[in-house]
Structure formats: C-alpha cells, structure tokens
C-alpha cells in the first residue's frame, strides 16, 4: 500500500532522515518508536507529504507522491487520515462541523449525508452528546477522539497517528488507545508514532525502531521486545520499559 524508497529529509544542513526503505501492506499496524529527535515524526509526516522529502520516493496505491502534482496530492490526502499530537481541531466550529467540513466542502457528500455519517462516528467514539459543543469545551482525550472521528469521515485507506497520546493527561490516554485498538481490530491500516509500549506490544503487527534517521530494527512485537538485537534499541527499551 505504501512503499518508501530511499527517503531522506534535511532541514537546512541538519539531516533528519538518512535513507528509509520500508513497505506498509494493507491491514498492517505499524508502530514507530524511537528516541525524541530520531526522525520518527518526520518520517510519518513525509508519508502524506506534510513534509516534502529531500530525496527518495513515497509510493501510495501506485502513485509516487514526491512527483505527484499538488492537485493530485490533495486528492490522495483524502485517503490518508492523520491524527496530530495536539489534535488541531477547528476551534471556531462545532464538533459536528469539524467532522463535516472537509467532506462537504470537497463535494464528496451532501450536508445531510455528512451529518448522518458524523452522527454514526460520534457514536462510535462515544461522544454523541458533544455534537453541538465547541472543541474548547472538551477534555484532551475527548478532543483526540473527535480528531480521530474527523479523520475517519473521509473513509481513509490508512490512518497516520503522530504521538496521539503524548499531549494527554495520564487518565485520558486509555480512552484514546482503546479507540485506536477498536480501529485496529476493524482492519484499518495504521501507522502509529508513539511512546506507548503496551499499545505497540498488543496491537502492532510490526514495530519499527527509528534511531538517528534510519530504521535501526523492525520486527513483530514478540521478537522486537523479547529479543532486541540492535544495541541502541536494547538501551532504549531498558529506559522506557
């Protein structure tokens, strides 16, 4: 589904990604971990071209995103949902409008269809009663569940999560992770950058350790956590587990 070839990204002279090659298959749940500053968020943001790669290619459903014209890129982003660390809900709109804005303004669905779908998704994330509230009235966990619902409105083929629980109070992490687990069991293709090792162990089909701009190790969670080979990964795991 997503094929990453020789992906490099520099910010000025600083080399963040130094050559990443990987393939993410349909239905996979890839969890990306690594020390801060290792480039894991940059990697995720390159997947939907929020960051433009310096070198290499990202091939999504047969299209090389690094060569795609702007117009096509926006079309493709509809198929790649993204959830941000700081939610980025639209504060001037009600929750319902937050969900329906994109599909309606892009002409994908009518207002009524979008409202019906929003209703359905709000039920799924357990926030049906918040449809007419504004984002500022919600807790962090609720905001993130809304952000996930907003992404799902577009019927994406893959969901990208950029540290979805890092900005949350500890007691709210669970509700967001539970929702993500629900998505995973429904078969959604997911790429998740996180520090939640429990989630990685339980949900991931593959765990990827990015260190110093490269994939230092990737494996199924049992072997990844049970028998890590890379010395940097061993050191990292001993610190976080």
């Amino acid at each position: 589904m997503i094929e990453v070839k020789g992906l490099k990204k520099n910010f000025g002279k600083l080399e963040i990604l130094k050559g990443i090659d990987t393939t993410i298959e349909k239905g996979e749940k890839v969890v990306v971990i690594g020390p801060s500053g290792s480039g894991k968020s940059t990697f995720l943001r390159c997947l939907n071209m929020l960051e433009k790669p310096t070198e290499g290619s990202i091939i999504f459903e047969g299209v090389d995103l690094t060569k795609a014209p702007e117009k096509q890129l926006y079309k493709i982003r509809e198929k790649m949902g993204m959830v941000f660390q700081h939610f980025h809900l639209f504060p001037h709109l009600t929750i319902r409008k937050n969900l329906t804005l994109a599909p309606v303004k892009l002409g994908i669905t009518t207002n009524d269809e979008a409202n019906a779908k929003a209703e359905e998704l709000l039920k799924k994330v357990g926030l049906s009663d918040k449809a007419d509230s504004y984002p500022n009235m919600l807790s962090g966990g609720q905001k993130q569940r809304i952000a996930i619902a907003r992404g799902l409105m577009m019927n994406p083929d893959v969901m990208l999560f950029d540290e979805p629980t890092s900005a949350l109070d500890p007691e709210m992490v669970g509700e967001v992770l539970n929702l993500m687990k629900k998505l995973a069991t429904e078969g959604m293709t997911m790429v998740v950058v996180t520090h939640e090792m429990g989630f990685a162990r339980e949900v991931a089909s593959r765990v990827m350790f990015i260190d110093d701009g490269v994939i230092a190790e990737e494996n199924a969670p049992e072997s990844f956590f049970g028998a890590p080979k890379n010395p940097r990964l061993k050191a990292f795991l001993s610190k976080v587990l």
Partner: protein
C-alpha cells in the same frame, strides 16, 4: 456672560453657520465609511498575497508589488499622498473631490489593514493549516473555511481601531479644499475671526465620535472573549 452668548450666536446660529459643521460632518463620515470599505478590500487582498507567499513561496511577483505598496504608503505621510493623488495623478481631470478623498484614505488605510490581517493569519497555529491539508483541503479552501474565520475574530478589535484612526486622519482633507468637518470649523473661524468656539466644537464632535466608536469596540471585544470561554 452676554458677551459669550453673543459669540455663541455669531459662531453657530447667525447665517446658519452651524451648517458648515453639519455638512462637514456628513463629508467626513462619508469619506471615512467608504475609505474603510476600500481599505478593507485592499488590505485583505494584499494580506492574502503576502501570507500566501510567506506560507507557500508562491506569488513572488504579486508579493513584490505588495511590498512596494506597503513601503511607500507606510513610509510617507497621508497628507502628502492626498496631495499627490489630487494635484499630480488627477491633475488634468475634473474629478469629485470626495472621490479623491475616499481613494486616498482608502489606499492609505489598506496598507495598515493589510498588516493587521497578515498578523492575524500568521497568529493562527500552523497546525490548523496542516489539519486542513491532511483532510485533503487545498490551501485556498483551508484559508477560506479554517484560517480566515479564526484570524478575523482575532483582529476585529485592531480593525475597529484602524477605523477610528482613519476617521481622525480624514481631517487633513481640507488641504485639497474638501469641506470636511475640520474645514467646516475653519471656515467659521475665518469669517467670525473667532477661533476658540468653532475649533473646540470640531474637536468635541471628533471626540464624541471616537469615544462612541471605542465603546462599541470594547463591547465587541468583551463579546468575542465570551465565546472563547469553554
């Protein structure tokens, strides 16, 4: 006391002299109103060009023109601009002076509005642009539906203040013989040889207008704050 009443009578009542102030006020309000509208249109366009350039690197030529406009307009006094537009640009054309006033003050105000709007756009969290992009909304749609509504709310007080400033700035319109409020007071002064009363009256009218507008701005700000609370 009688002397003062006599002066008051001579200044305002005799020969319907108060009409200089009434007509002047009308002209001042007319110029201000249309100049504000022109300034808003120019300001929003220029700000959009500038912000788009800053965010995406596109519109290089337009951005260059916008920058020259901002530099020239903000770097020269509004009175000089007014004189140039009337005596140089429209030198050989007979043209309605009020129109010239609206044009000059509108173009001038546009530069300040542009920077206010641009600061409003720049004050919005870049995450909002990213959220829009991640949903497949292009830059234009993100701007219209997500960024501008938030930016506009943030800059409303500053925009309202710009209107107040503009109202006072139109007082130099007399330099192209436009009979605005200030000029009206000055005409009374020149026929009665009495400076105190007409000029104080003019000042009072400006003051009342500005205080009134300011209190409206204050109300607006409080209303906006309220909707921010959760």
């Amino acid at each position: 006391m009688d002397e003062f009443l006599q002066k008051l009578y001579d200044t305002f009542i005799y020969d319907n002299r108060y009409m200089y102030l009434i007509d002047g006020l009308k002209t001042t309000l007319l110029i201000t109103l249309f100049a504000v509208m022109l300034g808003m249109v120019i300001g929003f366009l220029v700000a959009t060009v500038r912000a788009t350039h800053d965010k995406t690197g596109k519109l290089k030529v337009l951005n260059f023109i916008a920058k020259i406009y901002l530099t020239v307009i903000r770097g020269t006094p509004v009175m000089v601009q007014l004189l140039i537009i009337y005596y140089v640009i429209f030198a050989s054309v007979r043209i309605d002076k009020t129109f010239v006033g609206i044009l000059a003050f509108g173009i001038n105000s546009g530069a300040y509005v542009a920077e206010i709007v641009r600061s409003g756009i720049m004050s919005i969290d870049p995450g909002q642009f990213e959220a829009g992009a991640s949903l497949g909304l292009n830059y234009r749609k993100t701007m219209i539906f997500i960024i501008m509504p938030q930016a506009f709310k943030n800059i409303l007080p500053a925009l309202a203040n710009e209107c107040i400033v503009l109202l006072k700035e139109t007082s130099v319109a007399g330099y192209i013989a436009l009979q605005d409020l200030t000029k009206g007071g000055d005409i009374i002064r020149s026929v009665t040889y009495e400076a105190f009363l007409p000029l104080i009256a003019v000042a009072l009218i400006y003051l009342i207008l500005v205080v009134g507008l300011s209190s409206l701005v204050g109300k607006l700000e409080r209303r906006l704050k309220k909707s921010d609370r959760g």
